[in-house]
């Protein structure tokens, strides 16, 4: 169905392209971003390339949310249109498509991108155009941006739920292995901050390039350090090889994570017991046993019977699209500045993960965080559950977007001694 829609807009694009320049220019001027007659949402999610595995569920869940809204009469009585290209996991293409979405498709709100690299690539374009933008991946945290709403849990929220649980149950010696890029580095910083807050020690730390598929030496290094548990902050398809390799090498230390299972559903894809004794701190996995969630899950698979999994990010897309619709109804228009102002007042949201709320001044969510455990047979159980709010921006940094315009990303190293790797 999305193909049909974007096919339409593509035809109209070609038609304008073929018309005399003046007419096209006039079209640009009248089709402003706050047109009342239509609502158009940009959904730019990877369906091919490296991030297709994570991007496809996000795309699916967005379409589900939009279909449900349209069945209820759309937004402000208008059917929702979409601009849903495939950026093919290519950041440069994201830039082009973001510009197209804003300048040519005049989208009223934009959902785009899986990795933080993608977000940072397009954020300057977003800010320049004052475009309302929802970023839905769980991420390193710290983005304080007047136009960006970060719907995923931050590293502090994710790790803040699982790390104390691990310390309590397994001991205080932590070994961190993390993907060697911005997200991994900052997450490892948060592990150090949280270890300090929970009276534990990081006894070893290893950063692994995203291209690495061979973990023989890493496994030996962990065995050498002999920690009570490992915090595994691995990312991407290459790193997924770690789990099979650690199992076959007989490394049975318990592992905590914020980056596997809930994003790339490794417990579904890998043969048991590859993910045995892995504990994740997430706001969502499709195995959450509540009625509300199970009902959502069955709606999703009814629409996408061949879908593989509903990941954390997919659900964040789903509830944030619904949240956007409520805000638009509340202000009575799709004017972006008005909607941002409305959202900044905060909002209670009923999401598949439970009842959560938007922290208006920092554009982040208070999430219902759970600790999920994967057992020998890859059955998921919920071990712990608590509401965790975004704290870094709201409490430590003191960001308040209601009062100050900003487009900054803050990093923990500037606020915590433990997070500053250069001190060691």
């Amino acid at each position: 169905m999305s193909g049909k829609r974007s096919g339409l807009s593509r035809r109209s694009f070609l038609a304008t392209g073929g018309a005399i320049g003046g007419a096209a220019l006039a079209g640009c001027l009248t089709g402003g971003g706050s047109g009342e007659e239509t609502v158009k949402l940009g959904i730019i999610e990877d369906r091919s390339g490296n991030f297709a595995l994570n991007g496809t569920p996000k795309y699916n869940a967005s379409m589900l949310a939009i279909e449900e809204l349209n069945e209820e009469g759309g937004i402000l009585g208008n059917e929702i249109e979409t601009f849903a290209p495939d950026p093919q996991s290519d950041n440069q293409r994201y830039q082009q498509l973001t510009r197209q979405a804003i300048n040519e498709e005049n989208v009223d709100a934009l959902w785009a991108g899986y990795s933080s690299a993608t977000r940072e690539t397009i954020r300057p374009i977003i800010d320049q155009n004052e475009q309302l933008y929802f970023y839905t991946t769980q991420y390193e945290g710290g983005v304080c941006d007047s136009y960006t709403f970060c719907m995923g849990a931050t590293a502090r929220q994710q790790l803040g739920s699982v790390l104390p649980y691990m310390v309590e149950n397994f001991g205080t010696d932590i070994y961190t292995i993390a993907a060697d890029y911005n997200f991994g580095q900052l997450s490892a910083d948060w592990v150090r901050v949280l270890a300090d807050e929970n009276d534990a020690n990081v006894i070893g730390e290893e950063f692994i390039p995203l291209s690495v598929t061979d973990f023989g030496s890493t496994i030996n290094n962990i065995q050498d350090a002999d920690p009570d548990f490992v915090m595994a902050l691995l990312v991407g398809a290459n790193h997924t090889s770690f789990w099979n390799q650690r199992t076959s090498a007989g490394l049975d230390v318990p592992m905590g994570t914020s980056t596997v299972m809930a994003q790339g559903y490794q417990h579904k894809r890998l043969d048991p017991p590859a993910m045995a004794n892995v504990y994740g701190g997430f706001n969502y996995m499709e195995e959450i046993p509540t009625d509300r969630n199970q009902e959502f899950v069955s709606r999703y698979y009814e629409k996408f019977p061949d879908a593989a999994y509903i990941n954390e990010e997919a659900v964040n897309n789903y509830f944030s699209i619904k949240m956007y619709a409520r805000a638009a109804e509340a202000v009575g228009s799709t004017n972006q500045a008005d909607i941002i102002e409305e959202l900044e007042k905060g909002m209670d949201v009923s999401a598949p993960e439970g009842d959560i709320s938007l922290q208006g001044p920092v554009h982040h969510m208070t999430h219902n965080m759970r600790v999920f455990r994967c057992d020998e047979d890859h059955t998921i159980t919920v071990e712990d559950e608590q509401q965790i709010s975004e704290q870094f921006l709201s409490e430590t940094v003191g960001c308040n977007l209601r009062e100050n315009e900003e487009t900054t990303q803050y990093v923990p190293a500037d606020y915590y001694e433990e997070a500053d790797a250069t001190q060691e």
Binding site: S48, G49, N50, A52, L53, T56, D180, E206, F207, I208, P209, S211, V212, T213, D214, G216, S217, T218, I219, N220, Q223, D224, D226, A237, N238, T240, S241, N244, Q245, T247, S248, A249, G250, L251, G264, K268, R269, L270, D271, P272, P273, A274, D306, A308
Partner: protein, 291 residues
């Protein structure tokens, strides 16, 4: 640093470099075609294996199917596309790059972003506080067997003699009654089958996804170039050199330095030895014989 750790890591790296490179080396060394779709051929082997295993085939049978599927695909591609591109080195690079694109996305459309993975068999070798995957260590003898098998095939069989005659002087070979077209086809199929074998062997220990091929391509290229024109000797030598460098640097400084050290070694070898490591062996042998 534990000596056994280093030894096992070396075995692991050596096998990876050799197996990643050998299919590419056969096709490049014997036919002058650079197969930029080599990584995707490996991916096809891994898919064949994993899908067969998921359908219930025992792992060795599944691996054989993976190899067979890749070989058949190689045969079809050679007959339809590659055979038009002999003596067009750079065109063949673009064409195989395009093939890689089609294969990756084609598999994604057919089987989705991921398929259920096979777990690694054979357990582990434990020593002191350490342990290592038995399967990964066993890949070393397998890599050596592959090299040995190719040695026998190309030097001890009628086919090998004809194939080598074709490479050295196609016109003369044709005059002597060798069906050179068939030799090229056969060589390409062997190269494809070897890529398939690599995919089959790594299917239970790496993540089988449509884009997995790219993780082999860099090592494969570097190994082939470092090795030089002699396929088997070159692959063996570069496997040894790069495997050692990777294991040592990874152990001393971390995975990133292992990778960088390997790439820098490649640059130095290409610069210093214009015919790679086999060129060096050749020179040394000539000198010894010259005295």
């Amino acid at each position: 640093m534990n000596a056994l750790n280093l030894l096992f890591q070396f075995a692991d790296n050596f096998a990876f470099v050799v197996l990643a490179a050998v299919g590419l080396a056969v096709i490049f060394g014997m036919m002058g075609v650079i197969n930029l779709g080599h990584g995707e051929f490996i991916m096809i082997g891994a898919y064949g294996t994993t899908l067969s295993a998921n359908a219930g085939a025992p792992l060795p049978v599944a691996m054989a199917i993976g190899v067979l599927v890749t070989a058949v695909m190689g045969l079809i591609l050679e007959r339809t596309i590659i055979h038009r591109l002999y003596d067009r080195l750079f065109d063949s690079m673009v064409a195989t790059w395009a093939l890689g694109l089609i294969l990756t996305q084609g598999m994604r459309i057919l089987f989705g972003n991921s398929i259920p993975q096979v777990s690694t068999p054979l357990g582990n070798i434990a020593y002191g506080e350490f342990s290592y995957s038995t399967y990964r260590v066993l890949l070393l003898p397998v890599a050596l067997l592959v090299l040995g098998g190719l040695y026998v095939l190309f030097t001890r069989t009628e086919f090998g003699i004809r194939a080598r005659a074709t490479i050295q002087d196609p016109d003369t070979a044709r005059a002597l009654g060798v069906d050179t077209d068939r030799m090229y086809t056969a060589t390409f199929v062997i190269g494809s089958a070897l890529a398939g074998l690599t995919g089959a062997l790594y299917a239970p220990t790496l993540t089988v996804v449509p884009g997995m091929g790219s993780s082999f391509l860099v090592e494969a290229f570097v190994a082939v170039v470092v090795g030089g024109p002699s396929v088997l000797l070159g692959t063996t030598l570069s496997g040894g050199l790069l495997g050692t460098i990777d294991a040592v640097f990874t152990n001393l400084f971390g995975t990133f330095y292992g990778q960088i050290a390997m790439l820098l070694t490649a640059i130095v070898v290409i610069r210093v030895l214009s015919d790679g490591l086999t060129g060096l062996v050749e020179t040394v042998r000539n000198r010894v014989e010259g005295e």
